[in-house]
Amino acid sequence: MEAASSYVPVGKKQLPKSRNPLTADSKFWRRFKSRIVDEQKFAVTCVDFCPVFPHDFVVTASTRVVVYDGASCQVKKTISRFTDLAYSGSFRPDGQLIMAGGETGLIQIFDANSRITLRQLKGHSRAVRWVRYSESDKLHVLSGSDDNSVRWWDVASEEAVVKFQEHTDYVRCGSYNPASPGIWVTGSYDHTVRMWDTRTAKSVSLLQHDKPLEDVLFFPSGSLLATAGGNMVKIWDVVAGKVLTVLGNHQKTVKKLKLTTPSESESRLLTASLDGLLKVFDIEDFKVVHAAKYPGPILAMDVSPSCTSLAVGTASGLLSVRQRKSVISEERATQALEVSGQEQKQVLRPSNFRYFLRGAAEKASDDDYVLGSTKRALRQEHDWLLLKFRYKDALLAALNTKDPTVVVAVIEELVARKGLVQAFSNLEVGELEILLAFLTKHVASPKYSRLLVPAAHSVFDTCATSFAASQSLKQQVTKLKYAVEEEVRLQESLQSFQGMLQTLVQAAVH
């Protein structure tokens, strides 16, 4: 009822929320926090995550292949049995074996735990830049080499089963069709993408990309293919053999393509380029939803299958690994849960104080009738002082909180009570200094300036005589003057800038 309503505390001034410029995707990718930034001696040419938890990853740089632990991001093992540069270090799909090509043309297969060389596939005459295990049977390997050939190896016998010779330039990339086993595509510097069936020796189809191919990638459906060559990425309908979209968002050669697994949300296409940008595309409309800048040309990039870690290697030898923070804490929480679950729940007895608090935190169910409790509103110090009509003290109490929203709310309340001028005129020298310091700090803030600029005028009108008395007050006034002058200068330059823009906009419209 209106009659004799109780005192309503002066809360914080509610300001409109500034609109968050981040999209959902930006928010998601910004949650990746940098875990390690490693300086390698040479360019990082390949990064590959193990498909098996905890998603260890191998990094290929110079003559070494380094295995990092997926959770802690620490170096686990280093494989350095290469006489020349190593390329394309990657896991077998079960994470047991690691293989790598090399400048010499030799493909080596190691045990992931003991680092023993298990097999050596010899046959390529020049460098092998790309090699991958077959995901369907774990027995075969496809490799692409600078000798223009693509070979299909039987790992156990160390023999090339099929040799594809149709490319006319270096073969630097390839991809396995997840929908139909035995179908592969490879991309070559001869500007073509060829699709192979491992059961025949000839290519099944050919796609013309018109730029040297750096990476190709099948979509999970197997009917869409992304190819990267030059500064553009093309999305193909493989069945029809037609280009669906061309993504020309990068300035320089796109080196790496990656699809996130659709566990977290919808799948996203990540592209990494020599211009140092990592871009994320929505695969429905192929629009950029997020972009990140790295200090140097990106050569290698991979995302863990659980979409929790992102590893990027650059030409300058920088290895950057980013992990989602929540994932780290979640993991810890699950660990803690496992531990606590083992403990027996203690039965409460009347000897325990908590026995008498049972049910206090019980939530009402939907069909319960809830009686509202009369909560007394929390009163701050300035509320008590306002109740006693001590306006000056209330203003000072608000200033002491150092929270501009509280001060603004109290000033507004004083205006409503017509007590602001009285509060200002009663201020002592020291208290005036606090007020002036507050004004100096916030008078130019657009959120508060509409109130604080007239308030500052009022302070000067009522307290001008006491300024002369104190040296420190004079300094405060000078500071306030500088703050205002600075703001005026900013506004002037903004206005001249706006004037320039307006002429441009007008010219553009007509």
């Binding site: 209106e2 004799a4 409503a416 308030a455």
Partner: protein, 813 residues
Amino acid sequence: MALRGGSFFADKQPSFSCDGRFLLVCTGCTVSVLSVATGLRVAELQGHTDRVTSIVVVKGLEEAKSVLTHAWTSSWDKTIRLWNFTTATQITVIDVGYKVVSMVREQHETLSSLYTTVIRKTEFRGYTGRVLLLHIASQKTVEGHLAKVCFLRSLFCFAKFSTFQTSLPRVLVASRKGSFVGMADSAKVWVWKVPAPSVGYCSEVQATVLHPWQPLTVMAFDPTETLVAAADRRGLITVWKNVGERTFYSSDYRRGKSDSGRADANDDAESRTTYHWHHKEVACLSFTADGSYLLSGGREAVFVMWHLETGNQRFLPRLGTPFRYITSAPDPSVFVLSMADNSLRFLNIGSMRMDRVIFGIKPYVTCPDTLEWLNVTKVALHHVHGTVAVPTANLIVQFYDVLLDKHANQVCQILKYNTVVTHVAFSVDASVMVTVDLRVAEAGVGGGSFLKFWTKSSEHIPYTLHTSVDSPHGGEVLALAYHPSKNIAVTCSRANDFKLWVQTKNESKDTHNWRCSATGSYKQKRMHAAAFSHDGTLLAVAAEELITLWNPLSNTLVCVLSIPGAFHEVVGMLSFVPKCPYLISASFGKQPQLTVWNLSTLSVWWSYQVEVEGITVDPNGGHFAVLASSHTKRYHKGGAEVKRNGTAQVCLFKPESPLPTSVWNFKDGIGGALLFLPPTEEVNKAINASSSESKLLILNKHREYVIFDPYSESNPKPASKIAANAAIEDGKLISFSIYLSLTLEPSFTALDTFNAMYLTTNTSKPIAQHDQLSKITSTQPWGDLLNAPSHVLPSLTDIGQQILESFLQKKAQ
């Protein structure tokens, strides 16, 4: 049949019946008998022809209390009447011959005389009053007078109830036992001893005078008749003890002796005590039944209860509005507080709680002096429930049921002082309410408008605040309008722009947000009014002397209308007439104008030079009504008007024709408002009409209102009820022929203001006719020649010659 209602309860002091079951309150020209238990009106005493000023309930012996149901009333119509208020019948009428301001009746059962304060008009700038003694038996006044009182003219301006600009008129106060009658004059306190019934001359009545330090506002006697309390404008309460001991009881002192000594020390009182807590004017004082506590209230809206022995106080703060009266009930613990927001509050001083609150229709918003030009929403139609929304002070919007004459509901976020709601608008389904409130700045700090959007989730819950926008524009918001079909609101501001606010849906959270979708301005002109057309495709915004038409959906300027020859007036009201292509505008300034535009030809259809207070359009279409004042405001540099005659005219027009179909005179109508009510069943039932036409609601400046059918031929024959309330004074239907004949009669005030500026009813005038243009240039300097929208101006070759001519004239001068 017309329905009237809406009265100001708190204007005069109410009075309880002897048994305490009824409360008699003055409601304009009538006295309403309210039931204390339910708060509803049980009877109405009708008979006075002017405002009732005081009520005295006849009190009798203890055992006869429940049967005594008589009351005396006094009025400005120069009569005093005795009533039986349970049967609402008049028993006696005594013609006093003077306007009666206040009246008390001494309580000795054997005596029968009334004291009255009356006023007599004098030539000298105001009124003087006399306190007279009246014998009831002989119905004659006793020769001579008890005292002379001087009222300044300003005392009778009650327009600003809530701001207390003017002092209360002097009222007589009787002590409870009935031995004394007193009055607080501005400079002194009069105390008279009630004389024997045989007194023949007023000069025989024993009297004493007390001299306070400050001009007084109010006084009170304590129940033991030993104390006299009086309060002044500074908030100081003075209590004299043993007043009149020497004068009235000691044989040594004769009246003449005590009167001769006027010095302060010679006041006939034993001691004087002062109590000071109030820092503003005290409006009312009352003692409790045992005499140990003094109750006071004033402009601070704080009820104070003084313990007289110790001077300790108890408070009841945050009541929200200034006090007018404190009235004691037969129950010693209950007091009725009459508050300036037109409410009666039953306070139990034991528990310090309000037992019951009776709300009347709240008074108009009074803007601060610096913002007096602000055109506030006076009343808005709440489409669904047949109530009207009344914006008031302290951030309250009241919903008032005009058919039942009852307070329905109110919406109040937080009780905040120095904040008034200036504009209210509703969506068509009434699910959204938009309000603009204005906070008054202190020394230029912290003032500004706040735009608030309220939503109604269910039938029974009043509106809840949804979105609040602090300072939606740089300056104060001057106008608010709501789209007739979509959730779009428009605000116009002093900062020379208007903004469109739309409701957008937030997909992810399934909530609605209000956002500013567009902003527009025209030539940096201040925008004073806005209106949507009834199909919602057109938005009219007044930009000073121009009217701009916009497409609210694409936010594009469609057209600009300019009133020919009016360069210094400001368009302050806009309204579309549904179902026909007419736009009505009212402009203010030196030459105020009511203009009707034909939007199909974009030309002035007809116009009048008349000051318009309010416009309302019939939702059924075809008609609109205008509240026009017969005296134009005179604008100074400061912008305030000087003289206003209270009577206004209500004119009903068809937009096609400049001849009004009906004209009514409306007393106290200036500062009022008018509104068309849609013809729902309830409305028809309430005024006993059956037609399907809209009904007209007119409020006067005191928020008393009348609802009637403006189209019915028989209706404006004034029912006695309406005339009694001085609402529709001479409600004759003035037909077309009478109108013409009467315009020749300059003395007829109702119509002499309607000087037809254009008598062209059928031929429209294009705005930019060249002959008209040359007429303008001959009277205006050449600067005004170009003071029109560029698309209205003729080509440069046409006006080039005239510009050159104006240069030549300048040189010649």
